[in-house]
């Protein structure tokens, strides 16, 4: 599947972000076409979460531009930014469910708060979204703390898709799950993205997961994208850094600084 003929949904240009003297993002360039599913892979601490937080607007970049549907969102007023944020849905690494609210209200949160739906109708829609991700509706009134990790991920996914966003973000969707539950979540992600006809940006260091959910792969290293291409090409990319990462070798161009 190629998306080269469709317009850019997300366009990141020369993005820089430092924390004190730590230069985390050093000129990231990344384009996601409408309907594309891209997985950004890379080692721990390479700035994957920082990248996604900049795109979503949880962090302001030091320099560079981020365009969503052609609009530069860097330096936008909070109100305008909120309008753009309505296009987003995100599944967080730890699910990040609100523990003061029951499961259904978590799933319905975006419907009530951002779409202004009344609580009764929102509950009905939330139950539909719960079924879509394979959650029993019996747990609708339970507290998120009572759910297992896999169920929390499902509820987080239901919350992310309930508002039918155009762009979905997934931060390490399978981390902390057993391999079977991991692939169940991956399948749900693929299904949800397809049903919504959404654009998806995932970050992960789980290669099996990346292969399942993505059309394209981008590898980040030392604050830059060092390889970008279709998932089918990753095994014979000829890129030493990508090869080393895929095969998990400790020797190669990527040096782990254990004491940094």
């Amino acid at each position: 599947m190629t998306h080269s003929d469709t317009p850019a949904k997300i366009e990141v240009r020369d993005l820089h972000k430092s924390f004190g003297s730590k230069h985390v993002l050093r000129g990231v360039d990344l384009t996601l076409r409408s309907g594309e599913s891209l997985a950004v892979i890379g080692g721990s601490g390479t700035g994957k979460s920082v990248l996604i937080k900049n795109i979503i607007g949880l962090m302001e970049p030091d320099s560079g531009s981020i365009r969503i549907d052609g609009e530069d969102v860097v330096g936008m007023s909070p109100d305008e930014r909120e309008r753009v944020t309505r296009k987003f849905g995100m599944l967080f690494q730890g699910a990040a469910l609100f523990d003061s609210l029951p499961v259904w209200e978590n799933v319905a949160f975006g419907l009530i708060q951002s779409k202004g739906m009344n609580r009764h109708a929102a509950r009905e829609e939330a139950l539909v979204a719960m079924v879509q991700v394979g959650l029993d509706t019996d747990i609708a009134d339970r507290s998120p703390a009572e759910l297992s990790g896999g169920m929390q991920k499902r509820a987080g996914l239901a919350r992310a898709i309930a508002t039918k966003p155009e762009i979905l973000f997934f931060d390490e969707p399978t981390t902390g799950l057993d391999p079977i539950m991991g692939s169940v979540i991956d399948d749900l992600i693929v299904k949800s993205v397809r049903e919504l006809d959404a654009t998806a940006l995932s970050i992960t260091h789980d290669m099996a997961s990346a292969r399942r959910i993505a059309d394209n792969i981008a590898m980040i290293y030392e604050g830059r994208i060092v390889w970008h291409g279709p998932v089918a090409d990753i095994d014979d990319s000829g890129n030493e850094m990508l090869d080393q990462f895929i095969h998990g070798r400790s020797d190669g161009p990527i040096q782990l600084r254990v004491a940094s």
Partner: protein, 256 residues
């Protein structure tokens, strides 16, 4: 030279913190007055802050009122109803009611706010709010500020009544004063300025407690330890600010 540099650095750091807190307070106030509002959340906080603080504030007040009566009786010798009633009323309504209720609530509510919001921060729940197009200042901070500013004066009102009652109990049952005369003296000692200053203090204390609780929670980082640190900072800073503002407000009301 080195000393000067250290003092300079310390001064800059203090102003940086004051600046950050002021920006936080400004943003919060802006969201307090701008819709959408969250009446459900405000109500929930009001119950949490107002209703559930009643026992601890009530107990503090009654013992304080009793102690005030005991101390003034032993301090002034046999001073008579008028003096003791006067000391109790002035002490409770002007100072001890608002300050002790404020400190108690700072321990209860300031800590709870910092812990709850801090946990939400480190588990990315605050980030999740933003991705669901909900401003965390509107959803988390504003309801707590509004509820605290509204409920603290009510709590202090209750503390005033219970504190005076404590003094009354000791005076009547221990010293054997005539209850009617004591109540009359109490009523006569009540002055509008002192009473109102106490309620103004309470509202300001409510604001400070909620501000410190939410500020430290919002900026906590680094897992469970960070949240614990935020909780401690919230209680300590709100208690100190509370005593500072108690002095400032007293000076504004009563300095001649």
């Amino acid at each position: 030279m080195r000393l000067l540099r250290a003092i300079g650095r310390g001064t800059i750091a203090i102003f940086a913190v004051i600046g950050r807190i002021s920006v936080f307070a400004g943003t919060s106030l802006y969201h307090c007055v701008r819709p959408p509002f969250f009446p459900r959340l405000i109500l929930r906080q009001m119950i949490e802050i107002g209703f559930y603080s009643l026992p601890v504030v009530g107990l503090t007040a009654i013992f304080t009122g009793m102690v005030l009566a005991l101390q003034s009786f032993s301090g002034f010798g046999f001073a008579g109803e008028a003096t003791i009633a006067n000391v109790v009323v002035w002490g409770i309504t002007r100072e001890l009611g608002p300050v002790l209720a404020g400190l108690m609530v700072a321990g209860r509510i300031g800590a709870a706010m910092a812990a709850e919001i801090g946990t939400m921060r480190v588990t990315e729940q605050i980030d999740a709010l933003t991705t669901l197009s909900t401003n965390p200042f509107k959803y988390l901070v504003a309801p707590r500020l509004i509820a605290a500013v509204a409920m603290l004066p009510l709590l202090v009102l209750v503390a005033d009544v219970i504190g005076v009652l404590g003094g009354f109990i000791v005076s009547v049952y221990d010293f054997g004063f005539n209850p009617t005369t004591y109540l009359k003296s109490t009523w006569a000692s009540l002055d509008a300025a002192g009473f109102i200053s106490g309620l103004v203090k309470a509202a300001v204390f409510g604001f400070l407690i909620a501000l410190m609780g939410t500020y430290h929670g919002y900026h906590s980082k680094g897992g469970a330890q960070g949240v614990g640190q935020a909780t401690t900072n919230a209680v300590v800073s709100s208690s100190i600010l509370l005593l500072l503002f108690n002095f400032i407000i007293t000076a504004l009301f009563f300095a001649t």
